[in-house]
Symmetry: C2
Subunit: 405 residues, 2 copies
């Protein structure tokens, strides 16, 4: 008998028929003799509907009230899932975040989990019940409902798996697992059996939207092994864990493409100490997420700074730069939206050299120009023109032989 935490996303519980399917799957796991704790998201679309209604009554709703409102989405699916289980003869009980003992800090709309009291759930498991917990939500010390922000339900699942010392944590979503590349772009992409937390994190931050980084970081911190898999079939998914058996032989684990970035070029700024610092301080103060940064000093003490930001934040970035450039004595700002960031990721890079060379050579042979380069211990990212983005992903995927099992 194992203790298993399963998390089902909004698409998996999108309507009553899908909720009944989820119940069948839970029953299967239960009938194999396991203890099962289930975390569910709100039905797909419900959270956005509620936000729209909130904005219709008040353009800038208070975060405390927004949390109070949004929490009902998951409360609905938990109760419906428990009922669906009753309907097929499985004893089950639904809990809100508060009832499940998920205590958070005081920050509304993006609370952090402080502690989980495992006692109520332990008691139900002992009594033979399946426990259904509302994802995405908790309660603070003042008894106010809080929500955990984007990807919050994954976080609830992984945090519960840690608190309950679960043997297994299954994250059910609408994709089959983690692939070596996006199968819509790279036809030969393969599903990975295993991936390390670090690789998963780099893929997530490189445009591969399977899970939010935050949940993966939490899993890494508490060493929660989890599996990403689909709720629409019974295929095995991808196991995410600390150390991956095949790690040493595989250099690159996957390729990711992010087409939602812009390149910002700040040119002709006076190259004196502190100029770059002032530029990035201003961007940070304006809450702009800067990703890749390149600085080159040109002729006669004039420098150029190039960096990438999410396209949605370009306007904010340009606005934040205006007063700074005035203060440091001039410079021009140009923006290029027609770019894409290609990343190759693999913990094997740590001990294998030549990854950059292989990538650059392959792209050069395909005639694809590299506009920016940045590297981390387990990732190399390059910026290419958006017209060549998908081709560059296919070229990289082939260059590292990712299509070969």
């Amino acid at each position: 008998m194992a203790r298993i935490v399963q998390k089902y996303g909004g698409t998996s519980v999108g309507d009553v028929e899908r909720i009944k399917k989820v119940a069948e799957r839970i029953k299967l796991t239960r009938d194999e003799g396991n203890e099962v704790v289930v975390v569910v998201s709100a039905r797909a679309g419900v959270t956005n509907e509620l936000i729209a209604r909130a904005k219709a009554v008040c353009p800038q709703p208070s975060e405390r009230e927004l949390d109070q409102l949004l929490a009902i989405g998951e409360q609905e699916t938990t109760a419906l899932t428990a009922m669906a289980l009753h309907g097929i003869g499985v004893d089950a009980i639904s809990y809100t975040g508060a009832q499940a003992g998920i205590f958070t800090d005081m920050v509304h709309t993006k609370a952090k989990i402080n502690t989980i009291n495992p006692k109520p759930i332990e008691k139900d498991l002992k009594a033979g019940r399946v426990v259904i917990v509302a994802g995405f939500q908790g309660i603070n010390d003042e008894g106010q409902v809080t929500t955990l922000g984007r990807g919050g339900s994954d976080l609830t699942g992984i945090a519960l798996a840690a608190a309950l010392k679960a043997d297994k944590c299954e994250i059910y979503t609408d994709v089959d697992g983690v692939y070596t590349a996006d199968p819509r772009i790279v036809k030969t992409a393969r599903k990975l059996q295993e991936i390390s937390y670090d690789e998963m994190l780099e893929l997530a931050s490189s445009g591969s939207k399977v899970m939010q980084s935050r949940s993966v970081e939490f899993a890494a911190k508490y060493n929660v092994v989890f599996e990403v898999r689909s709720s629409f079939n019974h295929n095995p998914g991808t196991i995410v864990k600390q150390e991956v058996a095949s790690m040493e032989r595989v250099v690159v684990r996957g390729v990711a493409l992010d087409k939602d970035q812009s390149k910002v070029i700040v040119s002709n700024i006076v190259d004196k100490p502190g100029s770059a610092g002032k530029v990035f301080r201003a961007l940070a103060d304006a809450n702009v997420n800067v990703d890749m940064i390149v600085q080159n000093v040109g002729r006669q003490g004039v420098a150029n700074l190039t960096f990438t930001v999410p396209q949605t934040e370009t306007h904010k970035a340009v606005k934040a730069l205006e007063p700074v450039l005035k203060a440091i004595g001039g410079g021009e700002v140009a923006v290029d939206d027609a770019i894409a960031k290609l990343s190759v990721v693999g913990v094997g890079m740590r001990t294998h050299s030549g990854v950059a060379a292989t990538l650059f050579q392959a792209l050069a042979e395909a005639g694809i120009n590299i506009e920016l380069i940045s590297t981390s211990e387990i990732k190399i990212s390059v910026v290419v023109h958006q017209d060549r983005a998908e081709e560059s992903a296919r070229v990289a995927h082939a260059a590292f032989k990712l299509d070969q099992a």
Copy 2:
């Protein structure tokens, strides 16, 4: 400065536009310098939608889970109402039943309120906040969500008014107040300025569907004076209280018509002690709500029993009677759906005789046959043929001069 509890029904908070209107009304009351506590229902239709979804996943959903599910309807409108108030510059906070300290017994789907802890709300009122409380729900000693059953939001409003020692309790609904008769049937019906709890109770049980009896009984028990009024205009409504000033001069307060009853005639049963008792015990065991009862002993020790039941329970009643008639040695059952119950209500009847005579004479003059009669201290009810029902209401209304202010 007064302390006012306002309760808004599901039609009043039916969509975001109406919620904004409700917020304006709350602000008006607040701006007059009052402390305001607001109870809201779920948006009209939401509770039924949720029940439909529950039945789609499980034909007989558990009551615990049903409560967990249904509670979200009011949680939504409380948060939206608080946001709408913020939008027009009024400080406000929303509470679930649990957060508002509404503790109930352990009975799901029709819980009774045990206690209300007024401290959290008192604290907010002191801080200058409007407090929005979810109607219809509470929490039991095990931390489970409970709901109060039909009319539960009115009950929340009145119970909060009692617990908070409010100066005034306003029940906003989609009608203007309590009328001397249903204005759709009796064109000359007038809105009553005041009515006593007892009269309101008799009207409610006689087919006048302004409020559930339960809430009125609770108000009477704790002597909570409340006003029934419309959220769609600013007309004064009807004040409901213990003693009504004009009581002694007015004999009959209003006329009510109930067309949803059936007449059941059990004939030719042996008239021996205990027969009638067995009949009504069987009906009670089957949860049939029997209203008017008439027994007449016919020739040679054979008795007839006639009574009325809600039309929805006729089938249940007939089924429950079968074994009983067998046990007591025979009898026949006949059902007549084409009836209506006309009631005239007024505490003035206590000291004034002749009400029955006036009613019977007026109906006789109009050629309307009376099939059954029952009387209480402040009410006389007669059963008439359904074809003459509305006419009989108009005749009674005129006979007691209810159209005269």
